[in-house]
């Protein structure tokens, strides 16, 4: 099929850019540890309260200024509410839902993941600056969705 010379140049340039872009995404994903939150970690949504570690939700120190935050996202809140960590703390969040699908997002950070019943989602973030970080649900979960929030205090 004949393609106009200018169109060939346009498409060649466009496709070359596309390949470079996809390679950058792929390298960042698979060799720089930037894959989106994708854990496959099954849990029975009706047995959360009896399944470790969700039988004891909360903050647990796992290293020097490193913590594991085990949280439950439910209609319409997070358990535990209001966590406090020191400045510079690295926090490994493990979150699941006993009911419907929720979101777990911290504005002005890259923390943004879906909480699906039956699965535990994981994400890690280092809080380098002090402040009160808002955690909010960004997936519609019912009539009180807009009230679903908590705060992480970094001091």
């Amino acid at each position: 099929m004949h393609i106009h010379k200018l169109e060939k140049i346009w498409l060649t340039f466009g496709i070359a850019m596309l390949i470079v872009f996809l390679v950058v995404l792929g390298v960042a994903t698979f060799s720089m540890g930037m894959a989106p939150p994708s854990h496959s970690h099954a849990i029975d949504p009706e047995q959360i309260e009896n399944t470790p570690p969700f039988d004891e939700p909360g903050l647990k120190q796992v290293g020097e200024n490193e913590y594991e935050a085990v949280m439950i996202a439910y209609t319409f809140g997070y358990k535990p509410n209001d966590l406090t960590v020191p400045v510079g703390a690295t926090v490994h969040f493990k979150v699941t839902s006993p009911d419907v699908v929720h979101g777990f997002a911290i504005p002005n950070t890259n923390v943004n993941m879906m909480i699906v019943p039956g699965e535990v989602n994981h994400i890690t973030y280092t809080f380098d600056e002090a402040g009160e970080y808002l955690v909010l649900c960004n997936e519609y979960c019912g009539g009180g969705h807009e009230f679903m929030r908590t705060v992480i205090t970094v001091q």
């Binding site: 994903t29 894959a35 699908v101 039956g118």
Partner: protein, 546 residues
């Protein structure tokens, strides 16, 4: 003057168009109220919920307005290019489809108004709507299949009677669009029929949530191309005629439609990038497939601007951009779709960001995404559909597009563009700050971050109000177009330029392309879906949380 179109055919087409616009009016009222609530300007009177309005807005705009308009428009292309009138079988299937879809729409709307289905238009399990809401969706989808079969039948008969001939470009594009729809809706049909209906009636206790989301998005992304392809039909075939030019290349136009068919389905995971239970490899694979649609998009952009430039130069345009001034800026049939095209440049760029795997974390489920699809479907596609309406309605009803209607159309387009600039612009900006989509008025306990979002939410409400005025004007225009003086209005179909080379018959070998679609879908979905089915998680019971 002789009626240009068989009345029975024009009645079918116009019924779809009018139904679509009534849905848009109702959806627009819901949208206006949402904007005012979120901007903190009003509180809803007792009994009406924000999320109820949001569900109505999404279902009526994204599912009903688009589907009805598109099917009406596609039938008109069949009338015009495949034999001059509909065959009785095609016409009957068209009406059967219309009745099913209209009934489904009414049932769904009633369920939403009764607050039995406040689950938004994505109806994510395990939120559980009334089973009749899901039944309503079945009527809409099955109705659209019937309409699709009518189109396929008309096309098949035409090809049998014109053996060895290339089909008309417009008809080919209509068939690709409908084929895309039929293959895509298989996903949502499986979700609704095998999962949600048995579960909501209580015949089974639990639902596999990840599987239901995956089936939804198998449908949800090609859905946006189902909206876009009819706009592309207008851009490729109608706009060249309106500006007095010719189609740049028949073969490339067909090739780009085939590429959209191939690469718009096996890509649903880019809506699920932040979800657990799908491995990063399969997400990335579908991201790569998603980006393949960049190629036909680049081809389309090139063809369109080549057509503009060639036709401008033939009219005497000189210099690098002299042709630009010679485009028919005062003709709404050109102006409205052209504004849509321009908006598609930032809209497409935003889409690239959304689909960028890990970068999605910055924008996922924020108002950025809402801003994005208000540029794509609610501006590029909607303005093109409006532009089509200005000639389609008079052409179908044997009336003329008067200078006054043309002027009202230009005003409507400008109002829409201004309203959308404020609304979508604020949505994009505040989305980057983290303000979530699909959320009623809240300041999150006066958290400083959320308080800073409020001015943008107010700007959204102002933009939304301007858009609502534009909706009202469009509804007025639609009915005024049916009362203009009787006469002839052209149904614009451009010819292919004599410089273009002939089209390879391979592009119309459906067996080849459908097989390739199936291979790509199996490649992208088999392993991750098997993993979801074999997962040892018990499913979820239903929840009514509104």
């Amino acid at each position: 003057m002789e009626h240009p179109v068989d009345r029975r055919d024009s009645r079918l087409v116009l019924s779809h168009i009018i139904f679509a616009y009534i849905a848009m009016l109702l959806g627009g009222i819901a949208g206006l109220l949402q904007g005012l609530v979120r901007g903190g300007m009003i509180e809803l009177p007792a009994g009406i919920g924000y999320y109820q309005l949001l569900t109505a807005h999404g279902v009526l705009m994204a599912l009903v307005f688009t589907t009805f308009f598109i099917i009406g428009f596609l039938y008109s292309t069949a009338v015009k290019t495949l034999g001059g009138k509909l065959l009785p079988v095609a016409r009957n299937l068209g009406w059967l489809g219309f009745i099913h879809m209209a009934f489904g729409t009414l049932l769904a709307t009633v369920m939403i108004l009764l607050n039995k289905a406040t689950v938004l238009y994505t109806f994510y399990a395990p939120m559980q709507a009334s089973p009749f809401f899901y039944v309503a969706l079945v009527f809409i989808v099955v109705g659209s299949w019937m309409s699709g079969f009518g189109l396929f039948y008309q096309y098949k008969v035409w090809r049998r009677e014109h053996k060895g001939k290339l089909s008309p470009l417009l008809a080919f594009m209509a068939i690709v669009t409908m084929l895309l729809w039929q293959i895509a809706t298989i996903g949502v049909a499986l979700e609704v029929l095998l999962q949600l209906i048995p579960w909501s009636f209580g015949w089974v206790e639990t639902v596999n949530v990840m599987l239901s989301r995956t089936l939804f998005w198998y449908f949800g992304h090609p859905l946006v191309y189902f909206w876009l392809l009819p706009a592309y039909m207008c851009w490729y075939v109608m706009i060249p005629k309106i500006i007095g030019g010719k189609i740049f290349s028949d073969a490339l136009a067909r090739l780009s439609f085939i590429l959209f068919l191939l690469f718009s389905i096996p890509v649903g995971f880019h809506h699920q990038l932040m979800e657990p239970g799908i491995s990063p490899f399969w997400k990335y694979l579908q991201v790569v497939l998603t980006f393949m649609v960049v190629i036909p998009s680049l081809m389309t952009a090139f063809s369109l601007f080549a057509t503009f430039e060639i036709s401008g130069r033939e009219k005497g345009g000189r210099g690098l951009f002299g042709w630009w001034k010679l485009l028919p800026w005062k003709d709404v049939r050109f102006f409205a779709p052209f504004v849509g095209m321009l908006v598609f440049i930032p809209a497409g760029a935003g889409g690239l960001i959304n689909a960028s795997n890990q970068m999605n974390a910055v924008v996922h489920n924020t108002l950025w995404v809402t801003g994005h699809f208000h540029l794509t479907v609610a501006t590029s596609v909607a303005l093109t559909f409006f532009g089509i309406t200005y000639w389609l309605v008079p052409a179908m009803s044997g009336r003329t597009l008067t200078a006054r209607m043309n002027k009202l159309g230009i005003i409507q387009t400008i109002l829409w563009a201004i309203g959308m600039f404020f609304m979508s612009g604020s949505m994009h900006t505040v989305g980057l700050f983290g303000s979530p989509r699909r959320t009623a008025y809240t300041t999150y306990g006066d958290h400083p971050d959320a308080v800073l979002w409020m001015p943008y939410h107010v700007a959204m409400a102002i933009g939304g109000t301007i858009l609502f005025i534009a909706v009202l004007l469009m509804i007025y225009n639609l009915f005024a177009l049916m009362r203009t003086p009787q006469g002839y209005t052209e149904y614009p179909i451009a010819e292919v330029t004599e410089h273009a080379e002939s089209t390879p018959p391979l592009l119309e070998r459906w067996g080849v392309w459908i097989s390739l679609v199936v291979v790509l879908i199996l490649l992208a979905y088999t392993v991750p879906v098997m993993e979801m089915l074999q997962h040892d998680v018990p499913g979820s019971k239903g929840f009514v949380t509104w």
